[in-house]
């Protein structure tokens, strides 16, 4: 077995499952947002804010953010292991990617909960 320590789930099987489940969640979230924008052509701030004020929408959005983070981690980790062969550069880029994903996730939660 090939060992790895910087991938998302420590196992290829769990990474693979996470990638597929998160893709389905992201697809549903995208369809919902696009659909919502289509049925609300003259969207104003109050309606938009009201949508995100509801508990189910907050759960759905947080689920989408977490899915996006996991999806990006698994996907970009794969890209770095394919194309970045020098270990030092690869570990550095992987660390930057993981930290960036963490920052964006916390930032997203703050946007969702802050206002």
């Amino acid at each position: 077995m090939v060992t790895n320590i910087t991938n998302f789930g420590r196992s290829g099987l769990s990474d693979w499952l996470v990638q597929r489940v998160s893709a389905v969640i992201l697809a549903l979230y995208t369809l919902f947002i696009v659909g919502y924008l289509l049925v609300h052509p003259g969207l104003d701030y109050a309606t938009w804010s009201g949508l995100f004020g509801q508990t189910w929408m907050r759960i759905f959005s947080l689920l989408a953010f977490v899915s996006l983070s996991a999806h990006a981690w698994v996907g970009l980790w794969t890209v770095t292991t394919d194309y970045l062969k020098p270990t030092g550069i690869r570990v550095a880029v992987q660390t930057v990617i993981i930290l960036a994903i963490f920052v964006f996730l916390v930032w997203g939660i703050q946007v969702l909960w802050g206002a």
Binding site: M1, N4, N7, S11, G12, L13, W16, L17, T78, Y83
Partner: protein, 236 residues
Amino acid sequence: MSTLQVSLYRYNPETDSAPYMEEFQVDTQGRDLMVLDVLHLVKEQDNGLAYRRSCREGVCGSDGMNMNGKNGLACITPLSDVVKKGKLTLRPLPGLPVIRDLVVDMGLFYQQYERIQPYLQNDTPAPAIERLQSPEDRDKLDGLYECILCACCSTSCPSFWWNPDKFVGPAGLLQAYRFLADSRDEATRERLEDLQDPFSVFRCRGIMNCVAVCPKGLNPTRAIGKIREMLLANAT
């Protein structure tokens, strides 16, 4: 006289500092020769040309090479299948170190094959005659055991190009599933545990280059899907 222009990848590490393409004119006398026959005609012009061949009928898997951009066996590929605009370009199998001309070092390919333990593992005492299988269980091995290890599939796979030391590759995985699917094999759990990391199986992105080039018409992508199903069933 019908002339075929053959562009050949040449590299002799003892005399050449870098590989280069060399042009040959071959008289096919209008016949639809196999690519291997054309190589014989080229070798008559240049005796120094190196390539592997043995059975010349698609059974031994020695003469896998890249013909006009697509991997295949030179001995069973007719010119009418590959030649475009009267030109034939022959290169060694991509992604493996070149030893000389069209001869590649298959070491990495065989290492991955060895890693999946391509032999039956069964610790129960053998019966007096043989270990029997039901016809249904035997049918599960069809489409798996026929592989001749020519490496056409693995060397057309970008995932194998980037990580030949970690990703087993389509040929090895087809054989891995051949033993996972065998009702007589008792090492299923150990075999699966050895394949669940992010590289060995899961570096496959399902682009099916392997299926497109297999000279025996086998389907490694399907076998890889079956391995994933077994891994999932074993771990959830």
